[in-house]
């Protein structure tokens, strides 16, 4: 059961920005719909206007250039990420996170941009994006601004994106290509599930080690600036100090802490060897 709303499908950026400028918080952006429609059905979101971003020219696809790096546009789905040859060869951490996101049907619709804008603490794509130094390009009538993901998430389901703005693309720097990495996501079953905890680790070509932990704080948590050769105990300590998991219906705080430690140690073993 969905309440009544107006559906708009702007064709250009200008149109999109104009609608957002006029409607602000009364509008919700619709990309894959796999979060928005769930929320509308549950009565958690009651937009007056649903703005479909998929017809905006230039919002589709994934591009790569040596200059900019990897550009994941607003309409790029999770399965598009999994199918992209460049991402598979040079950004395997994105593949690792994408592969375990929900089910095949969801991945055909859910977008990377939508996943980060929804900003669940469990957001599946956030760990890779944080480790890989990605930033969001946010557009509005006033122009564009770039926000690194380390400054993007503000709280549970809250980001820096204002009601009159839209994330138009995500950029993963060329320098992050070829980073070694790994990812673990704890689920309750082997089948599709959200993350009870998740840990991503990447070691950049330059030698810095970065980890991101999901589902252990109001936002995904980045631990950066670690030397790639740091002893495991020190890495674990740094990670545990940065996170604040809770106990809920999915797991206890104690187990979450334990599993984060397990995953960190495993990833260090696997990625550093």
């Amino acid at each position: 059961m969905l309440h009544s709303f107006t559906y708009l499908a702007p064709r250009t950026r200008a149109e999109l920005h104009s609608v957002l400028a006029n409607e602000g918080a009364a509008a919700s952006l619709l990309a894959g719909g796999t979060d928005l429609l769930v929320n509308v059905r549950a009565g958690l979101a009651r937009p007056k206007v649903v703005v479909d971003t998929k017809k905006v020219d230039d919002f589709a696809g994934i591009a790569w250039s040596e200059r900019e790096g990897l550009v994941i546009r607003a309409g790029a789905t999770i399965n598009a990420v999994l199918d992209d040859a460049k991402i598979r060869s040079d950004y395997p951490l994105l593949v690792a996170c994408a592969r375990d996101l929900a089910s095949h049907q969801i991945r055909n619709r859910a977008t990377v941009v939508g996943n980060v804008v929804n900003a669940s603490p469990c957001a599946d794509m956030a760990p890779a994006l944080l480790c890989l130094r990605a930033h969001a390009v946010i557009g509005s009538k006033s122009g564009e601004r770039e926000i690194p993901f380390s400054a993007f998430f503000k709280g549970v389901k809250r980001t820096v994106v204002a009601p009159n703005e839209a994330v138009e693309r995500i950029v993963v720097p060329a320098a992050s290509a070829g980073a070694r990495g790994g990812y673990y996501k704890l689920k309750r079953i082997n089948g599709h599930d959200l993350g009870i905890v998740s840990v991503a680790l990447s070691i950049e070509r330059g030698g810095e080690m970065r980890l991101t932990v999901g589902s252990c704080a109001p936002t995904p948590v980045l631990i950066e600036g670690l030397d790639a050769s740091l002893p495991a105990d020190a890495v674990v300590a740094a990670v545990l100090a940065a996170i604040s998991p809770i106990s809920d219906v999915r797991a206890t705080k104690e187990y979450r802490l334990h599993m984060v430690e397990c995953y960190v140690r495993r990833l260090l073993d696997e990625v550093r060897s």
């Binding site: 969905l2 309440h3 009544s4 709303f5 107006t6 559906y7 499908a9 619709l30 894959g32 719909g33 796999t34 429609l37 769930v38 059905r41 549950a42 649903v50 479909d52 998929k54 399965n79 929900a102 089910s103 095949h104 049907q105 969801i106 055909n108 619709r109 089948g191 599709h192």
Partner: protein, 161 residues
């Protein structure tokens, strides 16, 4: 708004509200009741259809979004009035019990074998992960997909003690 969508190869034009899902549109505006609602929230896969060739949960797509697009449902699975290789294999391998998940499972399987003509058991599981079945326990479904794609299809036979 007016929605024009090609369903199973034929154009379907209807006046429909903006706030209905594709699932709702198929069942109540296009008269195609084969696609089922199991949860309404994109978890169970009973509502799976092919949208421009990709398997999607139709409960999480607005009808408005498919204007100008092409959708395939279970009603379009037969080939020239005869059951498709998937339908035949599902029948032969007892992959159907109560049948409520079946349209969604068949459409997911159809999408799978179109992109991967000879999927392994692991690949079948990846492709059907988003389809719940409470009756069969999945094994006979997996065997049906193996059979439909010309692969050896017995995960384990029933044996006598």
């Amino acid at each position: 708004m007016k929605i024009g969508v090609v369903i199973n190869g034929a154009l379907c034009e209807r006046e429909a509200p903006e706030n209905i899902t594709l699932l709702h549109f198929l069942r109540e505006y296009a008269g195609l009741i084969g696609t089922k609602e199991g949860c309404g929230g994109g978890e169970c896969g009973a509502c799976t259809v092919l949208l421009d060739g990709r398997a999607v949960n139709s409960c999480l797509v607005l009808a408005a979004e498919v204007d100008g697009k092409s959708v395939r449902t279970i009603e379009g699975e037969m080939r020239d009035g005869e059951p498709s290789e998937l339908q035949q294999a599902f029948a032969k391998r007892h992959a159907v019990q109560c049948g409520f998940c079946t349209p969604g499972v068949v459409m997911s399987a159809r999408a799978l074998i179109e992109r991967n003509p000879k999927p392994s058991v692991e690949e079948i599981k990846e492709g059907l992960e988003g389809n719940f079945c409470r009756c069969t326990g999945y094994v006979q479904i997996i065997e049906a997909v193996l059979e439909a794609t010309g692969q050896p299809a017995s995960m384990q036979e029933l044996s006598h003690a």
